[in-house]
Amino acid sequence: MTQGANQSRIGVLAIQGDFSAHALALEESGAKALEIRKPEEIDGIDGLILPGGESTTMLKFLERSGFLDALKDFATERPVFGTCAGIILLAREVRHPAQVSLGLLDAVVERNAYGRQIDSSILVGPSELGAEPLEMVFIRAPRILETGPEVEVLARRDGFPVLVRQGRIMAATFHPELSTDRRVHRLFADIVSNSSQPGGIG
């Protein structure tokens, strides 16, 4: 955990969605959280979270004023973490229906793959984040259908990846920000602080 002057500044895309839940989770994980609504606001941050919400709505804003290109540039050197709608924005390919995405994560993602709200669920299962089981809140969740060779799978549901990492890109089909377990956000905060230091993984 970093503090004070060394504290990471992590942006949360605040176009729409549960960005305030992410901001709280980041603060609890020792990082400073900033709301990001415009492309010029990503300049001063060390990492970025794409929160849960409606990916179609977020895309409308990202497709305007060069926001998509700014995010692609940002991700070439700084870490990005997407949850639910966020993983849909990050994926190489989106199905059901097909839509534009950043292509930063080598994965094929299917939207609303588990059904409607009535099919939403909270599951507890093993993960690579330690022996303690991880709670996973799925809300109208997408499914990762395929992943590329560089994608490391950190947790699964029925055999399908639900938490993945590809270098400085992290993604979850569930909502760690809606649980009290902070291991997922702490991992991202660590990736951010390592990549913003000289000689780090960035």
């Binding site: 605040a14 176009i15 729409q16 969605g17 549960d18 960005f19 305030s20 839940a21 609504r37 849960g52 919400g53 409606e54 179609t56 709505t57 409308k60 804003f61 639910c84 709608a85 059901h96 229906p97 939207r111 609303n112 059904g115 409607r116 709200q117 009535i118 939403s120 669920s121 909270i122 809140v137 809300i139 109208r140 909502h175 809606l178």
Partner: protein, 317 residues
């Protein structure tokens, strides 16, 4: 007092999932739609959800008669047409309509004063459903009574179908003021506050500790322009419902989005502008730019000119 009214309720799996979906809608716009074409326009414009209904409030107000749940056929068509969550309204107390909506796979049920109430005493027991509910409120007590019944989202009632934001403002200010007042009370004073608000003590205590509702707090009722949306967001709303403000032309006539390209373009411009203003509510430059793109606004009806007995907001208690 039952345990489900207290703090523990908010750790139950069912309520966490319901509130979780409400969290995902924050910062967005939920639009009333009456057909598939309107639903597509709403999604294209960036709505986070659509509310499927037979007649928007402005038409219900103008035409009168009994307003009921939308037809399952229409709701199914709209569910098929869009990828965003679909909401639908049930009459106050009409739990059988709510059961039908849950069966259809609707993502959120609005137990709404806009429809003709089916029960003059009881609201729906919303804990009995897996589908989340949103309910209207004019003050904190009403909001907390709905939350006690299981609502996972509160919205101001405003005065639906008018295009006059005055009562949405009044209700939001009232709720925010009453929440602030609770935060400075001592523990002993909270029992009396619960009595005054006619709300469960456990919920009053949660508001006193946190200064906010234990579920998301959205705004509805008379919001018709991008600046209206920005106003409600600045007053504390976490998302915006737009009913008649996007697809209505005259008081009881919708824009013909299916056959008239000019009227379709007008609806698209209104929908897009309200979405932009809701995200950038604190940025007047962007709200101004968005407003400039709008080619028309619903005619509207001053809420003050409506007789007391014609008000929709007094339905529910």
């Amino acid at each position: 007092m039952s345990e489900k009214n207290g703090n523990k309720a908010f750790t139950s799996t069912s309520l966490r999932l319901k509130i979780g979906l409400a969290e995902m809608l924050k910062g967005g716009v939920i639009m009333d739609v009456m057909n598939v074409e309107q639903a597509r326009i709403a999604e294209e414009a960036g709505a986070v959800s659509v509310m499927a209904l037979e007649r928007v409030p402005a038409m219900i107000r103008a035409e009168g008669g009994v307003a009921r749940m939308a037809s399952p056929k229409l709701i199914k068509e709209i569910i098929q047409a869009v990828s965003i969550p679909v909401m639908a309204k049930a009459r106050i107390g009409h739990f059988a309509e709510a059961q039908v909506l849950q069966e259809l796979g609707v993502d959120f049920i609005d137990e709404s004063e806009v429809l003709t109430p089916a029960d003059e005493t009881h609201h729906i027991d919303k804990h009995a459903f897996k589908t989340p509910f949103v309910c209207g409120a004019r003050n904190l007590g009403e909001a907390l009574r709905r939350i006690a019944e299981g609502a996972a989202m509160i919205r101001t009632k405003g005065e639906a179908g008018t295009g006059d934001v005055v009562h949405a403002v009044q209700h939001m200010r009232q709720i925010v003021k009453e929440m602030k007042a609770l935060t400075v009370l001592s523990e002993q004073e909270l029992y009396h506050a619960a009595k005054e608000h006619q709300a469960p003590y456990e919920l009053v205590r949660i508001v006193a500790q946190t200064g906010k509702l234990p579920v998301p707090n959205f705004s509805a009722g008379g919001i018709a322009t991008p600046a209206d949306a920005a106003l409600m967001m600045q007053l504390g709303a976490e998302a915006i419902f737009v009913g008649s403000g996007i697809f209505m032309k005259e008081r009881a006539t919708p824009l013909d989005v299916e056959n008239d390209p000019k009227e379709r373009a007008e609806a698209v411009s209104r929908a897009k502008a309200i979405v932009i203003a809701t995200t950038h509510y604190n940025d007047p430059k962007i709200v101004a730019e968005a407003s400039e793109q709008v080619t028309g606004t619903m005619k509207g009806l001053a809420a003050a000119a409506i007789e007391e007995k014609e008000l929709l907001q007094t339905r529910g208690w």
